[in-house]
């Protein structure tokens, strides 16, 4: 029915049961304009991914990048096993900024500490402890969809 220029349709669940026949345009996975997730189509790490929050841009950004790159390109049996030194350096740096990187025990489990969003590397359990404030940083970053567009 019509309401001036605004049309209103009420639908029941049954109305919407049949799958949609609306056509969507095929997405180009290599579209240079699109925001990408943590890993770019080229295989490199997207340091600007909102999922990383401020990790790559903070005071310990350099150490984080080194550690994470090492891990990402690692081809060892236990991925990242040769990167211990980098992760140690990162931890040392982080300990200097307890306000930014609070050392909480329950966040020992991975880069996406707590209940956060990072769709990246959930399997990366042992390597680093990413503190809660990074979670906050991620949430601050905004809407960019890490995984999809």
């Amino acid at each position: 029915r019509f309401y001036c220029k605004d049309r209103i349709i009420f639908v029941t669940k049954e109305d919407h049961e049949a799958p949609s026949n609306a056509e969507l345009v095929e997405d180009d996975p290599n579209d240079p304009y699109e925001d990408h997730g943590l890993i770019l189509p080229s295989g490199e790490i997207n340091w600007n991914c909102p999922c990383l929050g401020g990790m790559a841009s903070g005071p310990c950004g350099q150490q984080f990048k080194e550690a994470f790159s090492c891990f990402h390109y690692s081809t060892e049996e236990v991925k990242g096993s040769e990167c211990i030194e980098h992760f140690r350096g990162m931890q040392e740096c982080m300990q200097k900024y307890p306000e930014l990187y609070p050392q909480e025990d329950e966040n020992e489990s991975g880069p996406s500490g707590g209940d956060d969003t990072a769709p990246a590397e959930p399997s990366n359990t042992d390597a680093a402890s990413v503190p809660d404030s990074s979670v906050d940083e991620v949430t601050v970053a905004g809407t960019e969809n890490a995984a999809t567009s």
Binding site: Y3, D6, H16, Y33, E137, V138
Partner: protein, 698 residues
């Protein structure tokens, strides 16, 4: 041509007479080789042969007066030009000499051999004419430069001028010895490089200046866009040194909680801590990062691995694009390689309030910053009645926030606006009406179709009179009538300002000129999909700030990822939107009935986030919890008020293409909405498109 002829024929009797005479006399004259044929009427000049003596004199007087006037005008123009020329030279010399303020190392390359002589000669010329204030800064700067100057003679002369202005107005006391001059310089150096309040005469050491003289990345403005850009730059350019210059006294913070979450906090010290508890219980500060994240501006140029420094309480007043540098309000100059302008805007005020006098203006809040929040929070506890003028996002959110407190505080909250309903310019009329009802339920007295005619202060109350005669008496007014983008630097920087939307005009890559980008509220940019626009939402500031940061580090990407926005009007009504959401456009709304699971509170509890844009980041489009069978609204058309627009999707169309979507109490579907807008396709049946959102699921 023919018209002419007919007119001529019509006028024939007249024409014949004059033309005949004309032709006749013309012929005669021509035949007589006289240059100018005398026309019919032999109109005589006033000083002709028949003119009397009186007329002669008058004639002479007139001509004489004209010549005199002309002469005076020419003289004044010339002298004004000379004055302007002198001013300009003094400007140049002052700017040049300020450049040489910080340290010999930087000063050396900028110092040309010819410069000292030019400076001093100009300085000498200018000093008698230029004003004290114009000269003080340059001389202070010139003084500090002295240690680097090789020629002692030049140094002495500059000293003389410095001491002159610092101590007395006598321009002729040259030839002072260098030693006491040096001491004076050093003192002056300290006070020149430190901001005025902290002019400690500490012993001289090669201290780094508080304000770095060069910043590879200079971000003007310390808001959301600027912070997002800083983060982006640091992520992409390892070791980048980013300087943010803001005129606020606060580090970068996010604005949405100032009109929403901070008001819902139970913590009485919230105005101090500025921490808010999100629906899910997690607490965070409105500041993007604690102070330890930033490096101090003093150390920016030297700190290993670079960092982000924030210079607060400084306003950029002038931008020199050719020289790639900016000037601050205290005269300091900072040069840059890449610059971002993210100056946001200032809240607009109503003209009637501007003209209403001090008593009214004292009781008016233009809400935007932390200090405005603090002031209004205090007012809400102390006064009995607050009126909000404006029915858009800010006005409605503040009305709801205050309305919720109204019962506890015994506060009367009134909201008035010219539209027919809340969000009247954004939502289609039926939804706007529905929203207004909800706002009223929050305890707000809503006055629609209200145009403010006059505001005055009478009997201890602010009286607002509307055009239709209604009067509202209140203790305090909040004006939420829009934002005026801050384009103060347009003139000095030679930047284009958009006349339709306001703000700096930039291209799709957010670039205004070479090495200058603009992001956030102040940017009028070209959106490849939706056309030129200017967006004043939080997420747009984040997206555009990020994009500007990427482009400043060489990405050259256009605005592509469509930003979204959201609003919660109380715990039961919330929506997310994307694209062009203008109620003037034709819309198609597809609705179901809402269940208890569809309120904003429920959604954030489930997804564990507070700020709406984040819940979109984490969830891939799809279910957050198990599907819930939402009962559908029956299609029977009862009167409008009883229609329950609980849950649905509204499409905004422009030339049959969807350019905007509002997700009404439907959450975590933004990626699909974004995709539909990105496609820009014409869809024949929007109900089919609505199916993509699975609005019945949860």
């Amino acid at each position: 041509m023919f018209q002419c002829k007919t007119v001529w024929n019509k006028m024939a009797p007249l024409a014949r007479a004059s033309s005949t005479l004309c032709r006749q006399s013309g012929k005669r004259e021509v035949l007589r080789h006289v240059r100018r044929p005398v026309l019919a009427h032999q109109a005589l000049m006033s000083s002709g042969a028949t003119g009397g003596g009186m007329e002669n004199t008058l004639y002479v007087l007139l001509v004489g007066a004209t010549c005199l006037g002309g002469g005076v005008f020419v003289y004044r123009t010339l002298s004004r030009d000379k004055a302007r020329y002198d001013d300009r030279l003094s400007d140049i010399s002052s700017r040049w000499s300020e450049q040489r303020e910080q340290g010999p190392a930087q000063a050396e390359p900028q110092q040309g051999a010819a410069d000292p002589s030019i400076t001093e000669s100009v300085v000498k010329e200018v000093s008698p004419e230029a004003s004290e204030t114009a000269f003080k800064v340059p001389t202070l700067e010139v003084a500090t430069e002295a240690p680097a100057v090789e020629a002692p003679v030049t140094g002495a002369r500059i000293t003389g001028t410095c001491l002159t202005d610092a101590e007395s107005a006598d321009p002729s006391s040259l030839g002072e010895s260098a030693e006491p001059g040096l001491a004076a310089w050093q003192n002056v150096t300290e006070s020149a490089s430190d901001p005025p309040p902290a002019s400690a005469m500490s012993p001289v050491e090669p201290a780094l200046p508080e304000v770095p003289e060069h910043a590879p990345y200079l971000l003007i403005g310390g808001g959301t866009a600027s912070f997002a850009a800083a983060r982006s730059i640091r992520a992409r350019d390892p070791g980048a040194r980013v300087l943010i210059v803001t005129d606020e006294a606060d580090l970068p913070y996010m604005r949405p909680p100032l009109s929403k979450e901070l008001w819902f906090s139970d913590d009485p010290s919230v105005t101090e801590t500025l921490r808010f508890k999100q629906w899910n219980g997690k607490e965070r500060s409105i500041y993007f990062q604690p102070p330890s994240f930033y490096v101090s501006p003093r150390e920016l140029q030297t700190v290993e691995n670079g960092g982000v420094a924030v210079l607060m309480d400084r306003k950029v007043t002038h931008m020199d694009v050719r020289g790639s540098k900016v000037k601050l309000s205290d005269g300091t100059e900072i040069s840059y390689d890449k610059c971002l302008i993210a100056t946001g805007g200032v809240p607009r005020n109503l003209q009637v309030i501007e003209r209403a006098g001090e008593e009214v203006k004292k009781r008016t809040t233009l809400f935007r910053k932390i200090e405005d929040f603090r002031a209004l929070e205090k007012v809400s506890r102390e006064l009995k009645s607050i009126t909000i003028i404006g029915g858009g996002f800010l006005g409605s959110e503040l009305a709801c926030a205050l309305g919720r407190r109204s019962a506890d505080l015994g506060l009367e909250v009134v909201q008035m606006f010219p539209e027919k309903g809340n969000m009247g310019k954004v939502l289609p009329e039926y939804l706007s009406n529905w929203t207004t009802e909800k706002v009223k339920k929050e305890g707000v007295t809503v006055l629609t179709d209200a145009v403010v005619k006059n505001v005055s202060y009478k009997d201890g109350k602010v009286q607002i009179r509307m055009k239709d005669g209604r009067v509202v008496k209140t203790d305090h007014v909040v004006a939420a009538v829009g934002l005026e983008p801050n384009v103060e630097l347009a003139r000095s920087a030679g930047l284009e300002v958009d006349s339709d939307f306001g703000g700096y005009r930039v291209n799709a890559e957010l670039q205004a000129r070479a090495n200058i980008w603009v992001a956030g509220d102040a940017a009028c940019f070209y959106d490849i999909k939706l056309g030129r626009r200017r967006v004043e939402h939080h997420d747009h500031a984040v997206v555009s700030g990020r994009l500007a940061g990427e482009n400043m580090t060489g990405a050259d990407k256009p605005y592509w990822h469509q930003s979204m926005f959201w609003s919660d009007l109380g715990p039961d009504v919330g929506y997310e939107a994307i694209g062009i959401v203008d109620s003037n456009l034709p819309t198609v709304g597809v609705f179901t009935k809402a269940t208890a699971k569809d309120t904003p509170r429920a959604v954030t509890e489930l997804s564990g986030t507070g700020i709406r844009s984040e819940s979109e980041t984490e969830a891939v489009a799809g279910a957050v919890a198990g599907a819930v069978a939402g009962a559908a609204g029956a299609p029977a058309p009862p009167p409008q008020q009883k229609e329950d627009y609980g849950k649905g999707v509204i499409f905004y169309l422009r030339d049959k293409v969807v350019v905007g979507i509002v997700l009404w109490n439907v959450f975590n579907r933004m990626p699909i909405a974004r995709k539909i807008i990105k496609d820009g396709e014409e869809h024949a049946d929007l109900n089919e498109v609505a199916k993509l959102f699975n609005i019945h699921d949860d």
